[in-house]
Symmetry: C7
Subunit: 94 residues, 7 copies
């Protein structure tokens, strides 16, 4: 992975919406504004962001729930990623 | 429960709207913007959120009143949950 | 009363709009955006709310003036209440 | 007067728009968004409001200029009053 | 002058738009959103405004440039004045 | 020049859009929202602006790039100027 | 390069959208709101921006991902550049 997010941003890879995850979460593929399961592939360094100290709470490999429209999509080596702020992550799924 | 909310977020399970709760609260199912009774199933760690120190005032098992459209819905093992910020909780019902 | 409001929220019970209160306030029932007289039935603990220290200035039993559309309505034991922030209270009526 | 405004709010009584005040201010009754002359009948205690220290600069009896649509109207003993924040007062007229 | 503006507000008297000022500024009378030349007739005391210390940089008699729609108009003794915040003044004209 | 901008404002004179500047910048005259080259003719004193300390980074004679619609236009001695905040200046061109 | 961006702004040169970068990123040329790869050609000094201390995390030569509509375009010597704030940069591509 050659993308280093700045500040409190993280890069995530969406998990297929129809897939039944280990934790049993199933999300309809055409649901509007519904959160989705994603895997974190890169984490920014945190630090002072817009004058506020931000500590990163997630790490590479974490599975997280995010709002469907959070962040910005980017395509890399044929795989789609999303770059978003840590604060747009709702929860870690274990 | 395998969902660990970040920061000041909590995971709640809505109580059936037509149900008469122990405390006698009855909420019409089709009322718009009316608060609803929910049970807390997971609580984030709090801490510094957007530069402000947040202490969590609710705990797992609390019954709370929330605005109907607060938070984001997520489906887990056939049960619908909502993830919202503690500040979107109006009151604890005892 | 089994509702414990969080932070700087208070629970109020609206006084009938047509009623002539002791202090002589009469409020038309169909006036738009007009304040209404309400009685406070529960008061949150105050404290640090969104990074600001809030001291509660009202107590249970106070009669207050509020904007008609402030807060969120909730029905309890057949009685309607409103949950709102202390800052949405305009004045105490004595 | 039985209304005690909270925080930095003040209660004012509008002076008739057509009236020629002592200071010679005449305000057209149907002017849109034009300020109006009012007399202050109650003043809140000030203090820390939304995390900011507010000192009250007006006192009961002051005649002030306000924007026509500032604040919230309330009727008391047949007289209309307006409750607004001190910061919505433009100037004191002497 | 009997108007004492509060906080960081100033009272100004518009200079006729067609007039050629000493400094040579000519402003078209029907220009939209164009600044205008005005003379300051009263200055508030400054101090802490909305939690921020404000020092007044203008004085009575200063000629200033303001945006056409800044502030609130008020009529006094047949003369129109505008009450606006010091921060709505663009520049002093000498 | 008789205009003294307040706070962090600067007065600039637009450089003709079709002109080829020394630094080789050419800007189409009818481009929407495109920045333009301007020369600074007056600089405010900076200081505490809206509670934040501002140090002026530009000086009279600097050529700067600004967004086309930033600031307010003013006509002086037949020449059009624009008054804008330093923060609306994108870059200094040397 | 004769453009010196102010504060936390940077000047970037877009990399052709169809180009396959070394890191394998391919971005469709007509994608809406999609980020794009750009190379940094000038970096502002950072410092206190709007009352917040900003440290620059990028340097000249870095390849970065940005949102397509971030910043302001400027044409210099026939080459288009974009001036944007560091915070509009999503990630560094290595």
């Amino acid at each position: 992975m050659n993308i280093k997010p700045l500040f409190d941003r993280v890069v995530i890879k969406m998990v297929e919406a129809e897939e039944t995850t280990k934790s049993g979460i199933i999300l309809a593929g055409n649901a509007k504004e519904k959160p989705q399961v994603a895997e974190i592939v890169a984490v920014g360094p945190g630090g002072v962001v817009e004058g506020k100290e931000i500590t990163m709470q997630v790490k590479v490999g974490d599975r997280v729930l995010i709002s469907k429209y959070a962040g910005t999509e980017v395509k890399l080596d044929g795989q789609e990623y999303t770059i978003l702020r840590q604060n747009d992550i709702l929860a870690i799924v274990e």
